[in-house]
């Protein structure tokens, strides 16, 4: 403790007399080095806009936190300090460690924010109420909390099996009654179907759907309808494949592609928030800076440039036109989505894990000798077959 000097001690005594507020000010002053003299402190980075999340009574920032790819729990806390109060995770994220990171990063401020987590279901197997309640309780433990604000069914194409499962619905009811869950909902890459279904059930209080500048125009009337019904609306996959790292000129003097993509989503008033993946401090800074920002020419220019580059490469996962054309029932959109996680999200291990869990009959194992009707069905001109074979190659590594 040689660094504790008499002058410091006197400073501390003075600070102590006036309480911590004074001490903070003093510390701020003391922390300024000669190198900073004359330099103005930048305004603190803050979320600019909050909205009602449907009729839940919750207020959410326009830019929220997607925690699918996280390496440093403190990044969550940094985001919170910047005004981000909505955090989205899932039981399966980061090979079952995602919720643990969220719990670690946010435990001290838990009561001031909203946590959404998601649980996948295999509707081909029997769902048991007790087993599902145990899974949610395990999530609570990992999240270091006594309640989940929004519990979603993860990645469903059709809401019917969930609503028809008495065990599952009863489990959600029980968890709500016990105060372990506040609101329910689902996430889906097939919003054309599931949003319609959401209009007819009280289960969907918040929905999480794909929406970006390259896909989602067709679901806009449905998003409006669910929003009018009072359902909270959250947008995901907002970067349209996240391929900007491989492209030139995706940052200009005014904005970055990511900021432009966020601003594009925020320009739709029917979305309450969006969840860009924040993996680092710099992501927090970049994405929070897009909060409350309108779309302008610079942003639109970047988005147009991106579309030009990836138009016949990017698989619009929600499109699904190729699915009915495939004679082998390959889950083309899911396979290509996992390949996207592998190649563009920096989530190689997770993508391989998701692919391993996929049923063998949905994998592109018979594509080699197939005449590829999927390519004729693709309205965007993707070379689907070679993409599938390539995806299988990288995901089977």
């Amino acid at each position: 403790m040689s660094f504790i000097k008499r002058r410091n001690f006197i400073t501390a005594l003075t600070s102590g007399l006036f309480g911590l507020g004074v001490s903070k000010k003093m510390n701020a002053r003391l922390s300024s080095s000669p190198a900073l003299e004359g330099q103005k402190e930048a305004a603190p980075l803050k979320i600019q806009k909050y909205k009602d999340l449907g009729k839940t009574g919750l207020k959410v920032p326009d830019v929220s936190f997607g925690a699918i790819s996280l390496f440093e729990p403190n990044v969550l806390r940094y985001a919170y300090e910047c005004g981000v109060t909505y955090f989205d995770t899932a039981e399966s994220y980061l090979r079952m460690k995602g919720e643990t990171y969220v719990g670690q990063g946010l435990k001290e401020v838990r009561d001031k924010l909203i946590i959404t987590t998601k649980h996948g279901q295999n509707f081909r197997q029997k769902i048991e109420k007790a087993a599902f309640i145990q899974r949610v309780e395990a999530s609570l433990k990992r999240l270091q909390t006594d309640h989940i604000d929004i519990a979603m069914i993860h990645n469903i194409d059709d809401l019917t099996p969930a609503l028809n499962s008495e065990e599952l619905m009863s489990a959600y009811d029980q968890l709500k009654k016990d105060g372990k869950i506040r609101f329910t909902g689902f996430s889906s890459h097939n919003a054309k179907v599931t949003l319609k279904q959401a209009l007819d059930t009280d289960f969907a209080q918040v929905v999480l759907v794909m929406y970006n500048h390259m896909e989602g125009r067709e679901i806009e009337p449905l998003v409006k309808a669910v929003r009018q019904k009072g359902i909270g609306t959250v947008a995901m996959k907002i970067f349209a494949g996240g391929m900007q790292g491989n492209l030139k000129s995706m940052v200009n003097r005014q904005t970055s592609y990511s900021q432009a993509a966020i601003r594009w989503v925020l320009s739709n008033p029917d979305f309450d928030t969006c969840i860009p993946t924040m993996s680092s401090y710099s992501h927090v800074e970049e994405y929070v800076a897009a909060s409350g920002q309108p779309l302008d020419r610079a942003a639109l220019g970047l988005l147009a440039g991106y579309r030009r580059e990836v138009d016949n490469v990017y698989c619009r996962t929600s499109c699904r036109e190729c699915l009915s054309a495939c004679p082998n029932n390959v889950a083309v959109n899911d396979v290509l989505r996992y390949a996207m996680y592998f190649e563009h999200y920096g989530m190689e291990k997770e993508a391989i894990g998701y692919y391993q869990e996929m049923e063998a009959e949905r994998k592109p194992l018979g594509c080699e000798s197939c005449a590829a009707p999927c390519e004729r069905a693709c309205p965007h001109g993707l070379r689907v077959k070679s993409k599938l074979l390539h995806s299988h190659e990288i995901l089977s590594a």
Partner: protein, 358 residues
């Protein structure tokens, strides 16, 4: 009861009274003290001075660095080396497939700064004399000491944890040649002890506008003996090529087995293909390691990926010579529907291969 409450309140008051003392004392560390603590966290100045070399693997590349700040990065499946980058204080050179280029501008500044960081084993020891201290910055509950320096036109920010004094964050900021914003961010974690020094085993790198990547390092080695001319040599090891009209000789650089067959990476570049005067649709005979077992007829050449027919039109046992599917300097041979239970005898790294136009 009242006395107890008073005692409790007294305790709290005393705690509040002394707390800022400790906070303030931490804040009041001089920049020199902070840097010294950074070195201590990594094992101490003496320990760092004992390290003569340091190497690690990341992806397909191996990095070698010495305390003088020189860095050599070698890429390829051993013993193949397809690319070598040499980073020195005055220049950065790259040899990629025998094409030597000098790296300039932002990339040069970034490489040189990273070399200094590696040479200091992820401490700021190599930056000591040039750093400005910008104070303590809060990232959530985490407080980081902010130091800055300049790497040519780039501003470099280095952030040390106020708790353990390890490097947590590194940011390069500037503008590129087009005048657009350039910003690249590194978050380091976790730090682990290796031979008495503490180094990060991974870092998350993201450029503004991108999602970023997690870089993991492995096979860390200290004090490997390196030849005196190790940091002078820029040679790659990609075998040799002989090209004449209708004929190419070369070597295998790598191979892998995608689900639809076998992919062999050759050392033939576009220039070699041009010398061999191959045109899309040319039929070729392929020979691997001069054995009859390695002869494959019916190989077809395609100059661009677009010209390759859909795979359903390629018969089982067909083969193509074409540019690498995911880009790359050299051409690849793809053999479809091969029985993968038996690896061809000729399939060895650097083994000779040959094609002849029919």
């Amino acid at each position: 009861m009242r006395i107890k409450s008073c005692r409790g309140l007294g305790g709290i008051a005393f705690f509040l009274f002394i707390l800022p003392y400790f906070v303030s004392a931490q804040v009041n560390l001089s920049p020199k003290d902070i840097l010294e603590k950074n070195l201590q966290a990594a094992g101490g100045r003496e320990k760092l001075l004992q390290i003569r070399s340091f190497s690690f693997k990341s992806g397909p590349s191996r990095y070698f660095v010495v305390p003088s700040g020189e860095l050599k990065m070698m890429t390829g499946k051993e013993p193949v080396i397809t690319e070598v980058t040499l980073v020195k204080s005055d220049k950065v050179e790259r040899n990629s497939f025998n094409k030597i280029t000098e790296i300039a501008g932002i990339q040069k500044s970034v490489q040189q700064t990273m070399a200094k960081l590696y040479a200091g084993f992820f401490t700021l020891i190599k930056f000591e004399k040039e750093l400005g201290y910008q104070g303590l910055k809060a990232f959530g509950p985490e407080k980081l000491h902010h130091f800055t320096t300049q790497a040519d036109s780039l501003k470099v920010s280095l952030f040390l944890s106020a708790d353990d004094f390890c490097l947590k964050r590194l940011v390069f900021q500037g503008t590129n040649l087009e005048g657009d914003k350039y910003e690249i961010n590194y978050d380091f974690a976790p730090f682990e002890e290796m031979e008495g020094s503490k180094i990060p085993l991974s870092w998350f790198v993201s450029q503004v506008g991108t999602r970023g990547n997690l870089i993991e390092i492995s096979d860390i080695k200290f004090n490997q003996p390196l030849a005196p001319d190790f940091f002078l040599k820029l040679e790659v090891n990609i075998g040799t090529v002989e090209a004449a009209p209708g004929h190419l000789k070369g070597n295998i650089l790598d191979s892998n087995s995608p689900p639809n067959g076998l992919l062999v990476v050759t050392n033939w570049t576009k220039a070699d293909i041009d010398k061999a005067e191959l045109k899309s649709g040319d039929e070729l005979t392929f020979t691997g390691e001069s054995t009859t077992a390695g002869v494959i007829t019916g190989l077809v050449f395609y100059n661009t990926a677009k010209e390759i027919p859909p795979q359903n039109q390629l018969s089982k046992g067909a083969g193509i010579l074409a540019p690498a599917p995911r880009g790359g300097e050299t051409y690849v041979i793809q053999l479809f529907g091969l029985d993968k239970s038996v690896e061809p005898a000729w399939l060895k790294v650097l083994a000779p291969i040959e094609i002849r136009k029919k």
